[in-house]
Each structure stands twice: as C-alpha cells, then as structure tokens.
C-alpha cells in the first residue's frame, strides 16, 4: 500500500540480535538520507519468545511505523517464519534461516531466499554473528542500503568493543555474497 516506503520486519528469538540487525539497517538508511523508523515489539513476546522489529525506510516521511504486512520479512527461526510469512505483502521478499526453519511453508506469490545463518557465521568466525549474515543476505538481495553505510553502522555500534568489528563485518559480507547470487532462492 504505502509506497514509496519499504517496510521490513526482522524476527527471531530474543538474543538472536534481530533488533540490532534492524538498527544497523535503519542507521545505514538514515546516513544515506532516507527517513527511517525502528519499532521493536517490546512486549511479553520478547521475554523468552520471538523478538521482532519493524523498520520503515522512506524517501520523504515514514507514515505508520507499525507494520502489520511487511514488504520484506527476515525470519531467523521457525516461529517467526510461521507467524509472519503469511502476512508478507504479495510480491514481497522472505529471507529465512534454513538452519532454524526446517519446514518452511512457501508462499507462491513471494520470492524466498534462504541461508544457513549459523553455519555461515561460524565460517566467518563467530556463530553469534548470524544476525549480521541475515542482514547481509537482505542487503545483498535488495541493495536497500550500501555496504559502506552498513559497515560504518557496525563500526559505530561496536566502537566500544572494537575487537568484534571484524567478525561482524565478515559475517555481513558473507551474507551479502549469499544474497547477491540468490543461492537457495525459490521464486514464484
């Protein structure tokens, strides 16, 4: 409905870092001159269940920051996929983590991209950077923001813990490569 705003929902278990992925995305888009909003679900859900965040990226003004039917879903685990995949707008994009979404119920009217985020993160140096892999796949597939802007956001986020910057950047880049060549893509 509300083009030219892009609405993205990022979801996973609490601790997966999807809220951080969303923040990096919003930060990068803001630095590139877009209007952005970042709205986390802070309710009982995040206390031991799924944690999700809505990011809106707009040319002019973000209307509703609350997203019910996103253009893009990034799902880290099965509960997130099952809950939100049916709500993605037609012709939308679903990026999911095949490591934790073993039986995805595919949408015929959306593009799906999958990655084993934990495996890619381990190869990049730290399983905890799986959220950056997911962000990388999203950006690689959509080019919503530039790699430079995301990496600047990562550097700023981890400024106080600089030793974590390289592994996060590596995980992000691995995700981007994955997103660009569309491996594991199932298109309508």
């Amino acid at each position: 409905m509300m083009k030219p705003t892009t609405e993205i929902l990022l979801a996973g278990f609490g601790g997966h870092g999807m809220l951080l992925s969303g923040r990096l995305l919003a930060q990068a888009a803001m630095e590139m001159g877009s209007q952005v909003s970042w709205l986390p679900a802070y309710g009982p859900e995040m206390r031991g269940g799924t944690a999700n965040v809505a990011v809106c990226i707009a040319r002019d003004q973000v209307g509703s920051p609350y997203v019910e039917c996103p253009h893009i879903l990034v799902a880290m685990n099965a509960p997130s996929f099952d809950k939100f995949a049916p709500k993605v707008k037609p012709d939308g994009l679903i990026v999911y983590n095949e490591g934790l979404v073993p039986n995805p119920k595919q949408r015929a009217d959306c593009t799906a991209l999958c990655v084993n985020a934990q495996e890619v993160a381990i190869a990049a140096g730290n399983i905890r950077a799986a959220n950056l892999v997911m962000l990388g796949v999203l950006v690689g597939a959509t080019e919503l923001v530039s790699d430079d802007a995301v990496i600047a956001a990562i550097e700023s986020e981890f400024a106080a813990k600089a030793r974590f910057i390289p592994v996060n950047v590596a995980a992000y880049r691995a995700g981007v490569a994955h997103g660009k060549d569309g491996r594991c893509a199932q298109s309508a």
Partner: protein, 354 residues
Amino acid sequence: MKGNEAIAEAAIRAGCLHFFGYPITPQSEIPEYLSRRLPELGGCYVQSESEVATSHMIYGAAGVGTKVMTSSSSPGISLMAEGISYLAGAELPVVIVNIMRAGPGLGGILPAQSDYAQTTRGMAHGDFRLIALAPASVQEAVDLTILAFDLAEKYRTPVILAGDGVIGQMMEPVVLPEATVGPPLKADDWALTGCVGRKPRKVSSMFLDPDELNAHNFKLKARFAEIARNETRFEAYACDEPLDLLVTSFGISARICRSAVDAARSEGLKVGLFRPITISPFPMDALREIIGRSQRVLDVEMNTGQMLHDVEMAAQGRCPIDFFGRCGGLIPSAEGILEQIRASLAQLPKGGVP
C-alpha cells in the same frame, strides 16, 4: 534516537537538570538515561521510593525555582495524582511525562492511549485543567518536551507530555536544539529562595478562606482560558476542501491514520485528518469548523473512545461519528484503518455529496 532517550535529552536541552522518578515499562529509558547524564552535568537524579513521593519531590524542587521533570507510565501517573493536584493548586511549573500503556489497573506493558480522559480532565481531585501535549513522532516528542518547559514556566502550571509505548520505544532520526543545556527556570518573583532582605513568600495549595479559594479557582480557570486562546495546537492534514470523511485521531494513532488517509486519497476518496497536538486545551473551534464541511467523521484511538467525547462536542450533532478503537496493546494498522474509512464512506447517502 529512541523516543524515551530523545525526551530525556530534550529535557536537558530545555534546561532541566533535576529529575525524580521511578522505573516502569515502557518509559524506563527516561530515568535510565538521566541517571547517567544528570550527575555528569552537575544536576540531580533521584530514584524515589514511589510515584507518590516523586510527585511531592517535584513539588519541592519546583517550589524553590528549579526546572524539574518526572516521567512514568499509566499506573505510576495515577499514583502521582495527589501530588499533581497540589502542583496545580500551588501553580508550580513542572513537566510530567506519561508514556501510556494499556489499562485499567496494572493492565499490560504494551502501548495504548488509555489515559486521554484522565489527562485532559485534570488528572486528580480539585477543579483544574492542565496543558497536555501529544506527540506523533520522536521528533515531535523532542519539540513538545521543550515546548512543555516553556509553557510550564510561562503559565506557572504543570504540563503533561502524553506519549505512548510506541513513541517511547521507537527509534527515529531527531534534530536536537544546539544548546547543550538550556536556561534555568525564571522564577525570581515567586520561588522560595530565602527571604533575607525581602518579604517572605508562600507556595501552597491550601486556601481555608472560601472567598480566597473561590477567587483562586476562577484565577486558574481564567489562566486556562488564556492558554486555550494562545497555545492551542493542531494539525489539519488534507482538510482544505470539503470532505466526505474527516478522520480524527491523536498521538501515534494519528500517525498511522495519516498513512491510511494518504492511501484513501490516492484512490480519489475525499478524506482528511484532524490531529490535536494540544489534547488539552482541545482545539474545539478548529475542529468544529472542519466538521462543518465534512459529511461524516471517523474517530480512531487506541482506547474504547475517549477523545470521541471531545469530537462529539465539536460536532454538536451536525454529522454522524463512527469510532474505531484498538486497546490492550494492540495497534491499529494502516490497512485496518483504511478498511474503516471505506466502511464509513459506505454509510454516506447514495449519490455522494449533496
């Protein structure tokens, strides 16, 4: 910045270096932020033992002429009711932030606009009204926090910043005023600053002489009328032409309505949006004028219909009013509101606008 942190930083930039409060979701980032920043700036942060105590601590701080703020969420604000009434009676300039959540009682921690009636009708016992400002974005939360301090000082009254869990928890880009710390409160002519060399002063809400209290009540009423004349603020979006449907909404739900109104207008529907920014004093005349050229009204709130009564007062029965509300922490979606807009328009007499 996150809304709560932006409000906290805006308070500092407005010159507020004194904060008293107690944590409660979804506003806890405000005290958290100020507990770190205020001591760095030589200010004062006190986590009180309760909200009741908070409301009297800000009374004391304002009484001696300091710029002071507290923040809480719905149940905590109710606990402050006693102190808020005393603050109003003693004409003390304070800013009280209410990041509303779902109620009644402990309710839930999710966003709601459940305290509109409480906020706009005075908030406590006695006979008074307060200024209440309702932001629809993080930037507006910053701007209205600064305005709240200005109005509190100018009219010597408590001012409520009425946000909700979305405003508090959401991150958006913000532009802050350049001054790192704003000016102190101007209270030379009334604050309790030590009476050596001058006549003693009194800051009190107690008037045992009925004539005196009667005069005090009418003085407060006259001041609120002056505020209504000078300070009423609203946004009328796409309201210039005659409208088939006027959507009324405040705060974050108005922001969502704007998306739905844009979508409706892109389909050629004659729909506008009216959003009070001062929910108290309510922009009654401005709304009445727009309703005068609207066929129907749809009021949207995150409660069961509280501002609805003000909208009805503005409409004076001139046109039908529909209501769409979500509560309990549910947020109306733009798609859901658009559906309501279509349903309301379908109620119009066939043949369109006369």
